[in-house]
């Protein structure tokens, strides 16, 4: 009986280690986008895994583990920042409506600039965009994780990308103003 208990314990440990291996990096990047602090991001990720170790293993469907981790991390972040305004007002004029075309890839923009621009967005865009670019969750799971409707997720991803393209274009224009032709333009559907 003791051998069986030890075997189960060892199995659980292996499962946990696999889960950590598979998800800790993406969770950290998501946490960093939320907190903008490396220490707080690491704390959030650790706290999320501790919660999993305490409760998450009760989940009957192991395929939901990833979604559970992201959802728990996000809720923990919200709990810790309840006093802050999570839904900052967005000036609609800032956000291009409709879908933009992408004509060029801004090779000149470095990784740090992409992150800086992405992390500078209000959380309503930042959270769904980062989850999208982490490639870990589908738009349905993102909606579940953030507790918002699917349509809202799509809208925020679409608008967020448009803002990102515009900012990246500005970044490129700033560095090499003569070389870059405007990359993005509005492509509103004809009414």
């Amino acid at each position: 009986m003791i051998k069986r208990a030890n075997a189960r314990k060892s199995e659980r440990f292996m499962d946990f280690q696999e889960l950590v291996d598979a998800n800790h990096a993406a969770l950290y990047r998501f946490a960093l986008s939320l907190t903008k602090s490396e220490d707080r991001a690491a704390d959030l990720v650790q706290e999320t895994f501790y919660r999993w170790a305490a409760k998450g293993q009760e989940l009957r469907d192991p395929s939901r583990a990833k979604s559970w981790l992201f959802t728990t991390l996000y809720r923990e972040f919200i709990r810790a920042h309840r006093h802050e305004s999570l839904f900052a007002q967005v000036d609609p004029s800032e956000v291009p409506e409709g879908i933009t075309d992408v004509n060029l890839i801004p090779d000149e923009v470095d990784s740090a600039a992409v992150r800086e621009i992405l992390f500078s967005f209000e959380e309503i865009y930042r959270a769904p965009l980062v989850l999208f670019y982490l490639n870990q969750l589908s738009y349905r799971k993102i909606a579940e994780t953030l507790g918002i409707p699917i349509g809202t997720v799509m809208s925020r991803i679409s608008r967020g990308k448009a803002r990102l393209r515009r900012r990246l274009s500005q970044e490129q224009n700033c560095c090499e103003p003569r070389k870059i032709i405007p990359m993005f333009h509005s492509n509103k559907p004809a009414k």
Binding site: Q17, A53, R115, S138, Y139, K161
Partner: protein
């Protein structure tokens, strides 16, 4: 599906194609297959998304110690939980013991039935000779015959230990319009032993356990049980071990 609707949906299409099986995405992708302009837009959007995803990953190195900290921390938490669990188990055990002790205390305060109290009132006076036995004999059979004749409750089955003792005498008394019989025995290690018998159809609240129910009261140790149509109480003034040896 219109192209602008398809674009809106495909904005959330992950660039490595993970969402291709999603029904909504499938419809939008089919639309892109029919619309060259939309397909071009999708190709460029995916290229852009792959670019951003790779830049985001490249720009955010994960602290090397994070994984180790998670694993160690989880083990520490597990160990703390185990300690807490042990504490809970210990506390629960203490509560059970406390409740058990309280149960024993309650048992010592548990009231005897009226017929039992009436019998215990009479027995000392019988033993001291203040009141006489109805029938005196060292032969238990004779006492049982007498009780049968008197239509008083009778011992149909006796514990083995008790049958080895010598009988002294018997007495009947009336309690609440019911006859109660007392048979006294002598020669046991604890002195006199008294068997009190009442018919089960008598008092409605008479205890009816098949195994002895122990109550200690005013210097008397009593064991009460039921068998057949009778309820018996064995009472003596010495320790439980001596009384137990008779049952």
């Amino acid at each position: 599906m219109r192209s602008d609707e398809a674009k809106f949906i495909l904005s959330a299409f992950r660039p490595r194609g993970e969402d291709a099986g999603d029904p909504q995405m499938t419809r939008a992708l089919l639309q892109a297959g029919r619309d060259p302009e939309l397909l071009r837009w999708l190709d460029e959007a995916r290229e852009f998304d792959l670019f951003v995803a790779s830049r985001l990953e490249g720009s955010t190195p994960v602290p090397a110690e994070l994984k180790t900290n998670i694993m160690i921390g989880a083990q520490v938490c597990e160990s703390a939980r185990r300690s807490f669990r042990s504490f809970l188990i210990g506390t629960a055990a203490a509560v059970v013991l406390l409740v058990g002790s309280f149960g024993l205390l309650l048992r010592s305060l548990e009231p005897l039935a009226g017929w039992q109290l009436a019998a215990l009132e009479v027995i000392p006076r019988l033993s001291s000779g203040q009141i006489p036995f109805d029938e005196q004999s060292n032969d238990l059979g004779e006492l049982q015959d007498w009780l049968k004749e008197a239509k008083a409750p009778n011992a149909t089955t006796l514990p083995l230990g008790l049958s080895r003792l010598g009988a002294v005498g018997c007495k009947t008394l009336s309690w609440d319009n019911q006859l109660v019989s007392i048979i006294c025995f002598g020669g046991g290690k604890g002195g006199f032993v008294h068997l009190v018998i009442i018919n089960r159809q008598g008092p409605p609240h008479a205890p009816r356990p098949s195994s002895p129910h122990w109550i200690e009261r005013s210097g008397w140790l009593t064991a009460t049980w039921s068998s057949g149509e009778q309820t018996y109480m064995l009472a003596m003034q010495s320790g439980r071990a001596a009384l137990k040896a008779l049952l």
